[in-house]
């Protein structure tokens, strides 16, 4: 995507940058039980030293199985959660500093997975869409607000009169449109989309994805796109990161990763995509389950499920190494075994 040459450093810095970000959740039992059982605190490392950068007007997608930390990264990226380690930068500034300023906070927003939970059931749609407008004082007076809400609803293919209704009067796809209208109300530049289509029917998914791409092109939006659906990801992304148990195991240009996957886990995932040309042929199922992040395997977290694993994989955590324009965290790739 062509990038407009802008002079300031803030403008040339990536929209969002994560530098060695970790997040540990406290999953210990209550204090009294812990004391009685003489055990320590228990931490769940949902995100483990993850780094990525999202250039302006581009889309980075993160994929992975349930529980791999995708949604935690989404929440970290808009400041709903604070990182336990590392730093997230928004336009070159630390995210917590950026979020303290309304002018910068206005420029990021989030679209949630479940459109049945992300809209307040007691609010009329026009109030839901107008909330960011009010919060940032972007419109003055009822007439201007009404006009702006109508324009936002029209932008996502809803009628202005829909603003008088309540969320429960809409279908899932329409609700997700309302979510998008709300997310766009403050004219953000950076949108985190946490599985925005996984709760929708397949026929509606494409509509929503096309709408989002269309809006991205028109408004120059930057997306962090979280999904477990590889077909959706291919449709959306410029860059693709594959996550496994809190770590990014492979990250690079989306087409390269799709065409020449390097990490054994990425290969497994891509092989599992349903494909008309593959009907009737035997497939290698993704064996085993994601191990518990409370007690992750030693060394490379993927080694219990990996065909290429050897002694080194069981002991040493692989660092990301460059393989072409893709970064891969795998000993087998680094050693040239894969």
């Amino acid at each position: 995507m062509p990038e407009a040459p802008l002079p300031t450093t803030a403008a040339t810095a990536p929209m969002l940058e994560a530098i060695g970000v970790s997040r540990v959740f406290d999953v210990s039992r209550p204090w009294l039980q812990r004391v009685l059982a003489r055990e320590g605190r228990l931490g769940l490392r949902a995100v483990d030293t993850v780094s990525f950068a999202i250039p302006r007007a581009s889309t980075l997608s993160l994929v992975g199985e349930s529980g791999c930390g995708k949604s935690t990264i989404a929440r970290l990226s808009v400041g709903l959660l604070a990182p336990s380690g590392g730093e997230i930068r928004f336009e070159g500034q630390s995210l917590s500093v950026a979020r303290a300023q309304a002018a910068l906070r206005r420029r990021m927003n989030m679209i949630f997975q479940d459109p049945f939970a992300s809209l307040n059931p007691r609010w009329r749609v026009r109030d839901i869409v107008a909330e960011p407008l009010r919060a940032f004082g972007l419109v003055h007076g009822t007439a201007e607000r009404t006009a702006r809400v109508a324009a936002l609803l029209a932008q996502v293919g809803l009628a202005p009169s829909d603003g008088d209704r309540y969320p429960h009067e809409f279908s899932g796809g329409q609700r997700q449109r309302i979510s998008i209208a709300r997310a766009l109300a403050s004219e953000p530049e950076f949108l985190v989309c946490d599985e925005p289509t996984s709760a929708l029917d397949v026929s509606v998914q494409a509509q929503i994805l096309n709408l989002m791409r269309d809006l991205q092109e028109r408004l120059g939006l930057t997306f962090l796109f979280i999904s477990h659906n590889l077909a959706v990801v291919r449709h959306m992304s410029d860059r693709l990161g594959v996550m496994y148990l809190g770590r990014i195991v492979e990250i690079g240009p989306a087409e390269t990763v799709f065409r020449t996957p390097r990490h054994p886990y990425t290969r497994l995932l891509l092989e599992a995509i349903p494909d008309l040309a593959m009907v009737g042929r035997a497939r290698t199922p993704v064996g085993g389950e994601v191990p518990s992040p409370i007690d992750p395997p030693s060394g490379c977290a993927f080694h219990p499920r990996c065909k290429l694993a050897n002694a080194r994989c069981r002991e040493e955590k692989p660092e990301q190494v460059a393989a072409g324009d893709v970064l891969v965290a795998c000993h087998a790739v680094a050693e040239g075994r894969a």
Binding site: G79, R99, Q113, S118, E131, L158, A159, S161, R182, Q207
Partner: protein, 313 residues
């Protein structure tokens, strides 16, 4: 994509909204429940009779000039002027009951309001803040729950009686009773609201508000409060019946409202003295009025609970 924005369904006119109320599930459930209609009718008659007492009561029981001892202990239906008979001072029982119901309702409503405001606020804060704040507030509620309303009322009454000078006693008695009943009834609201708040605060619409930097108080009162009020309405209705009974009990025991402002409970207590001398109507009719009022409120509350429960629809 919706291509016809002007379809009839999408139009929401004033007429459409009124029809929408007629079409609502709650109205359907109400109009199809004879019990709900019956109790609403009885309750409405009680409430209107009580609230409208100064205008529609046949006599003014507090106007000493209109009382005559010659009219004392008239038997019910003896004359049309005194349909429910008179008490020992010649007061019309029907009028006394209407005025008494007014006092009972006022005490009940005020104490429920007090309990709702306190309980909802505590529940919201405890549920949203979590951690030690939650623990402290909820243990306080647990302690409160171990005191029955009567004990609490006697305690507050005793303390206030000791602090406030005797001549001001009658003036503050209303507030003492309201406080005593309200304070013993708030934990139920707090617990319910805390539970719902715990559920609501984890929902994504709260996260969506936090992303754009909406403050805690506005999230609490603008977003979460409207979503936790359903159960409060049900418990509030049921508690209104209980609060009226609490007040009647206290007045019957003599720690309630002063005889210058008799509630239904006071009337029952006064009439109790004449039960064995044959003037049963002086105590029975206020009692019947109390039963009708509380029963209709409770039945309405029960219906509301079922009607608002999505799993029972």
């Amino acid at each position: 994509m919706r291509m016809e924005p002007g379809t009839a369904v999408a139009e929401t006119t004033t007429a459409g909204r009124r029809a929408g109320w007629r079409d609502s599930d709650l109205w359907y459930s109400f109009s199809h429940s004879p019990l709900a209609i019956g109790s609403a009718t009885v309750g409405l008659i009680c409430v209107l009779g009580a609230l409208g007492a100064p205008w529609i009561a046949p006599h003014d029981p507090f106007n000493v000039a209109s009382l005559s001892l010659l009219d004392s202990f008239k038997v019910p239906l003896h004359s049309w002027s005194y349909p429910l008979g008179t008490d020992e001072q010649g007061r019309d029982m029907l009028s006394a009951i209407m005025y008494g119901g007014r006092v009972s309702l006022a005490v009940g409503a005020a104490s429920v309001l007090f309990a709702v405001v306190l309980g909802v606020a505590v529940g919201l804060v405890a549920g949203y803040a979590g951690g030690p704040v939650d623990a402290v507030l909820m243990r306080a509620a647990d302690v409160q729950l171990t005191f029955p309303a009567i004990l609490m009322a006697l305690l507050v009454d005793g303390v206030v009686g000791a602090i406030v000078p005797r001549e001001r006693h009658e003036a503050v008695q209303f507030y003492v009773i309201v406080f005593a009943i309200g304070i013993s009834r708030w934990p139920q609201f707090a617990r319910t609201v805390r539970g719902s708040t715990l559920v609501e605060r984890g929902k994504d619409y709260v996260a969506a508000a936090r992303v754009i930097g909406i403050g805690r108080l506005r999230i609490l009162f603008g977003h979460i409060l409207p979503n936790v009020l359903g159960p409060v309405l049900v418990i509030g209705t049921l508690t209104l019946g209980l609060a009226i009974l609490d007040e009647a009990t206290l007045s019957f025991l003599g720690v309630g409202l002063p005889p210058t402002e008799p509630s239904l409970g006071t009337l029952i207590r006064i009439g109790d003295d004449f039960l064995f001398s044959g003037q049963w109507w002086v105590t029975v009719f206020p009692g019947v009025a109390l039963v009708l009022l509380v029963l209709s409120i409770n039945l309405l509350g029960d219906w509301l609970r079922d009607a608002l429960n999505p799993r029972l629809r």
